[in-house]
Amino acid sequence: MNSFLEYRPWRGSRNPRWVGSLAIARESIKLIFVRKVFWVVFSLGVLNFLLYFFGQYLFFWVADQQTNAMVRVGGFGRANQNDMMQFLRGVLKMDGSAETFRNFINLQSRGIIVLLVLAGASLLGEDLNQGSLIFYQSKSGGMKNYILGKFLAASLLVHLFTTIPSFFLFLEICFIDTWSYLFQNPRLFFGIIGYGLVINFGLVSLLFATVGIFRTTIGLIMCWAGIFFLIPSLCVIMIDRLKLNPAFRVLDYWYCVERLGEKCLGASPSGIQGSQDIPLNPWLAALSLVTICALSFAFTFKIYFKKGVDL
């Protein structure tokens, strides 16, 4: 009992309640960082980033070096060096245009989908499965802090893969080209933020709702595979084979997210491989996204804020 003498009452100052959500976000991020799947997906994301980073650099460097001279292209004859580089830059879209950022973010967001589906259960599901929710509920910040903290953690992951590297690519062009690029492309700058936020809300709200239902990684994989692979395939069949109205593409959630991203960046529509190339009206895409987000948040609040929780 001697150790009891060391107990001292607490008389210090306290943070506002919402600050607790930052602690939740920090600990949630730590939970993800200890998962191997994070480092695998993160490495692939970094590789993709490096591809774009050095790709852009290479094209700008080549553009500086090239002349109008005719060069030999394998056994296919001769081509104008300038035309050839223009062609390659156009095809690979590594020229700092809106399409560059659209392609880059699209690729990165596929990585974040894989990460969230594989690590989402440890981010949120384990609290539901192991009864840890009561730990957060009984604290003064309650479930508001919990939801905010987890949302911040998942959002940070999304932006770590999409918005933040996109800004590095944007800055790279400012450095290797001219700083006027920054002032000539304000839409691109804000478009990157916009697309990041669309992916953020689109994926994180869906994650909250689906983890609330399925709770386990296997359940999440099945559900997200349905949303991101099965439904898009069905949409292609409905529109191309059954010749239904192209507006049915509104059911393809990920296409809607990408369509909105294109709109934010001002990029030309990418279309769907093997499908009729009639882009969906962005307002319809926005409607789809807002509906899914609203339903997901409503469901999330129903699960996490229900009264009469189990102790």
């Binding site: 060391e6 107990y7 607490w10 210090g12 100052s13 009864g131 003064s140 102790l311």
Partner: protein, 314 residues
């Protein structure tokens, strides 16, 4: 009592659909250790949820420290469920709980070490929670409830799954935090022995009704203690001597075994002294059942018979 009640319930009712989990419960409890007793389904967990504002009453009011709106910073809750994050270290988890209660990061860490040290966690606080034994998890759960120095501790089955020494230690902690640190403690448990050991007041619930809310002393009233004595010596002489001070001494028929029924203030030591004064050797002297067991089951029986008669219990 001349002091403000910690919790006041007035006509507290909680219904889930057609099922009434708490039915018109009214009581007041005062600072100290309050035992919340009742069989499974009595409404204990629902009452705790209402105290913590995790649930809302259908009718009636509940006031904690005189306020309708509970300030959770004044309450520390130790849940019955594991409710831990297995990948976190003990001290990190407690500090995390402190941060959730508004403590600054450095203060929370310092406080976490202090509390865990107080609870005898030593170096084990640097291990991951996933590697902890049940006893250690219970201590960490108590620490996370204490980290922000609340005025009221709500403990749901704090001694569940503990071996006897760990259980005794946990009860010692409760006694210490209540008697020496002035904290009020609500102890929800099935273990009547725990309540009898540490509590000052009890609230007995059954089937959503409050069967009793009073001091432990009052509940026990003039209940008797029953002991089993196994001796080597002269039983007749022993029976005669014990008969002078005990209510009833009964030869159990088995060789050298006596059942001793004593009055409300019986002391096991004085019984032992009397036995030894006869020259007999004690092989075994154990309480057969606690007085609280007796009082608790009597309350349940009374409720059962009054319900059968269609009367309103209490």
């Amino acid at each position: 009592m001349g002091v403000n009640p910690v919790i006041q319930c007035k006509n507290l009712t909680r219904k889930f659909g057609s099922k009434t989990v708490l039915d018109n419960v009214s009581f007041e409890v005062f600072p100290g250790i309050i035992g919340l007793l009742g069989p499974n389904g009595a409404g204990k967990s629902t009452l705790i949820k209402l105290i913590l504002n995790l649930d809302l009453p259908t009718f009636g009011t509940i006031r904690v420290f005189g306020c309708d709106q509970v300030d959770l910073r004044k309450i520390g809750f130790m849940p019955e469920a594991k409710a831990i994050i297995p990948s976190m270290k003990g001290f990190e988890f407690v500090a995390f709980a402190g941060e959730l209660e508004g403590l600054k990061r450095n203060d929370a860490l310092r406080r976490s070490h202090e509390i865990l040290d107080c609870l005898g966690m030593g170096e084990s606080r640097f291990r991951k929670l996933g590697e902890y034994s049940t006893g250690m998890i219970q201590k960490v759960k108590l620490a996370q409830a204490l980290v922000h120095d609340p005025e009221l501790l709500v403990l749901d089955e704090p001694t569940a799954g503990l071996d006897p020494p760990a259980r005794t230690q946990m009860l010692d902690y409760l006694n210490y935090f209540s008697r020496q640190q002035g904290k009020s403690i609500i102890l929800s448990t099935h273990l009547l022995g725990d309540v009898e050991t540490v509590c000052d007041q009890v609230v007995v619930l059954n089937l959503g009704l409050c069967l009793a809310s009073c001091s432990l002393e009052k509940l026990l009233g003039n209940k008797v203690d029953l002991f089993l004595l196994e001796v080597v010596g002269d039983l007749e002489k022993l029976t005669a001597i014990l008969g002078e001070s005990c209510i009833q001494v009964q030869d159990l028929g088995a060789i050298k075994k006596l059942s001793i029924q004593c009055g409300p203030n019986a002391d096991i030591t004085s019984i032992a002294e009397k036995v030894l004064s006869t020259g007999a050797q004690i092989k075994k002297l154990i309480p057969l059942e606690s007085k609280l067991d007796d009082a608790f089951f009597e309350l349940l029986d009374q409720q059962g018979s009054s319900s059968r008669l269609g009367e309103q219990p209490f």
